[in-house]
């Protein structure tokens, strides 16, 4: 800890170390954007360079919170992924999707709306990629049964997964990262972001009705196909399903109370993963653990170290000073700029590296503004809170802006192409870009009204 304060106090110099770290940082980001090398490899190589070139000591990368890997994020992801890997093959998602179609009584518009809500809710509680990965095949089936074009359904599901993911701490990686850095708990997100997401959902449902109401039609005998499907047949392992839902219930309850109980979210997720592995009575956990998205986990690890390097040499601090210069310390302006910039940036580049960079930048900015505050009173300074929410809203919702804006988008576009229903870049943009602008606009009004007009 002594080391950290010494680092913070160190005068800022643009020496050789500074430039080396800066070059590694920008080069890594450029290669990630170019997609010439897999992003995980770029992150690992960039991180190892930070260490080999002694910009960061290994100790700092592995053990110092401000400079290195955020293990809270890593183990929260690992825990949740393990739980989902056990839940997946039980047929839970397929059951929900077929059930939704029946709730929609075989009516395409109604099914689109129900699936939109279901996808958003599942994405808020679980990860977006798993949700779309399992809902999309059923959507294809339903659309074939009803003889309607599946593409609008798929795009709306992607939108729902990114909007729904914005609502909770565990819904989307940017939120997980922001929560960990700013020491925000699950209920903070429910109180501050969920209302905004509910407003967006209502607006979106009205829009779906207006846009697709007339276009989506099917014949009575085709609706019968849906009504004759028995969703119970989707469930492959009812016993494991019950166990999974039981543990998921405990985990979600744990998240609700983790702030009060003083547990980190990762503790809750890891406990849930351990409990479910135990209850599953498997003798070979290899399969469940192997399916954890290790490339994503290592992408995070690498990025944390790369960002740690540029934090240590002062690049991030320098950038935060520039932001303050532009906004002249006006935090409302800062919030709005961060929100829109985050949205556009997340639509173009991966939002994970973006947020990994923005988190320390926001903290450095806070340190300039309130030099006498430390700890929670600095991280959660009442005037800083809208900035965190703006970052979360922008980075999550920006994911909708383009086919490469979020992992769920890339997955669905890929699945669609394999199924012979290619979603072109432009077609996606025609839906995604206006929806991104609309939802960020709603967020802007929300943040302005709630934090700067009403002041709550």
């Amino acid at each position: 800890m002594v080391q950290e304060t010494a680092e913070a106090a160190k005068p800022f110099v643009m020496d050789a170390t500074f430039w080396t770290a800066t070059i590694i940082f920008f080069l890594a980001y450029a290669v990630i954007v170019s997609e010439k090398v897999h992003k995980t490899i770029v992150a690992i190589v960039g991180a190892s360079l930070m260490l080999v070139l002694k910009i960061l000591e290994q100790y700092e990368a592995f053990h110092v919170e401000e400079l290195g890997v955020d293990w809270n994020v890593i183990f929260l992801l690992i825990g949740m992924m393990t739980i989902i890997n056990i839940l997946r093959p039980t047929g839970f998602f397929e059951y929900i999707a077929i059930k939704s179609a029946k709730i929609g009584r075989g009516e395409p518009l109604r099914i689109m709306m129900v699936l939109f809500i279901v996808t958003a809710v599942l994405s808020a509680m679980l990860d977006n990629v798993t949700t779309v990965l399992l809902i999309v095949p059923v959507t294809f089936l339903i659309c074939d049964a009803l003889e309607v074009n599946p593409i609008p359904f798929l795009i709306m599901q992607v939108m729902a997964s990114n909007i729904g993911g914005t609502a909770t701490l565990i819904g989307d990686p940017p939120n997980i990262m922001i929560a960990s850095k700013a020491k925000l708990n699950f209920m903070d997100f429910i109180i501050h972001l969920t209302p905004a997401v509910i407003i967006m959902m209502v607006v979106m449902l009205v829009l779906i009705r207006v846009v697709f109401g007339r276009r989506l039609k099917t014949r009575e005998e085709l609706k019968e196909r849906i009504m004759q499907m028995n969703e119970r047949e989707a469930i492959k392992d009812p016993v494991l399903l019950k166990k999974s839902l039981f543990v998921l219930g405990i985990v979600l309850t744990g998240f609700v109370f983790h702030g009060v109980l003083h547990y980190e979210p990762a503790t809750i997720a890891l406990f849930g993963a351990g409990l479910l592995l135990l209850l599953s009575r498997t003798h070979n956990p290899h399969h469940y653990l192997a399916e954890i998205e290790w490339p994503t986990i290592f992408f995070f690890i690498g990025l944390f170290i790369i960002v740690g390097g540029v934090v240590k040499v002062g690049l991030i601090k320098w950038m935060s000073l520039k932001v303050l210069e532009i906004t002249q310390g006006n935090l409302f302006a800062t919030s709005m700029i961060i929100m829109w910039f985050s949205a556009v940036a997340s639509a173009i580049v991966d939002n994970i590296p973006y947020v990994a960079t923005m988190n320390p930048l926001v903290i450095d900015m806070a340190k300039q503004l309130w030099p006498h505050e430390t700890g929670i009173s600095l991280l959660q300074h009442s005037e800083l809170m809208p900035v965190w929410w703006s970052l979360a809203l922008g980075a999550c919702l920006g994911g909708n802006g383009s086919p490469i804006g979020a992992s769920a988008n890339v997955i669905v576009v890929g699945m669609s192409e394999r199924a012979g229903q290619k979603i072109s870049f432009v077609r996606f943009l025609m839906y995604g870009a206006p929806i991104m602008v609309l939802t960020v606009f709603i967020s802007m009004i929300y943040v302005w009204l709630r934090y700067y007009v009403i002041g709550f």
Partner: protein
């Protein structure tokens, strides 16, 4: 014995740009030795080079929609679904459906090599290639089996 001695001559082949419908029709018409129907055909390009094989397995795979292989959804199929899917894919080109990594055997290969390939790769048929690498015939599992029967019975 060698591959050349038990292979059957090439009677008809498919072109990569044939549609699925045309392919199925040619396969239906074509009879191989002993009057049995053909369940797989070679696909040759204009120069007579082997570019792929089309079997009924490949055709089944293209009829089953991709989303059903992505997920366990077999229980939710409806009556008439197969026929609808057939209509959807009838225009697909042979080149999109065929298996491209074809295992072939040289015409001078000993039968044991053919047997080994068939078992190792779980094949139903193996194209036989001549000196220039172009196909000259085809061996079906049954052709090989006849050779085995012959060897066993002659011995006793």
């Amino acid at each position: 014995m060698r591959a050349r001695e038990i292979m059957e001559p090439i009677k008809d082949v498919l072109r990569p740009d044939n549609t699925l419908k045309e392919a199925v029709n040619r396969m239906r018409v074509l009879q191989r030795g002993a009057g049995m129907g053909v369940k797989g055909m070679m696909v040759l390009d204009d120069e007579g080079r082997l570019v792929g094989m089309l079997s009924i397995k490949d055709i089944l795979k293209v009829i089953i929609p991709d989303y059903m292989t992505m997920s366990e959804l077999g229980e939710f199929a409806w009556d008439g679904m197969l026929e609808e899917m057939c209509k959807k894919v009838e225009g697909r080109r042979v080149s999109e459906i065929m298996t491209t990594d074809v295992i072939t055997v040289d015409e001078d290969a000993p039968l044991m090599e053919v047997a080994d390939l068939i078992v190792k790769h779980n094949l139903q048929r193996v194209p036989v290639t001549g000196k220039d690498g172009k196909p000259v015939g085809i061996i079906y599992v049954r052709d090989l089996y006849y050779a085995i029967v012959k060897a066993l019975l002659e011995e006793s």
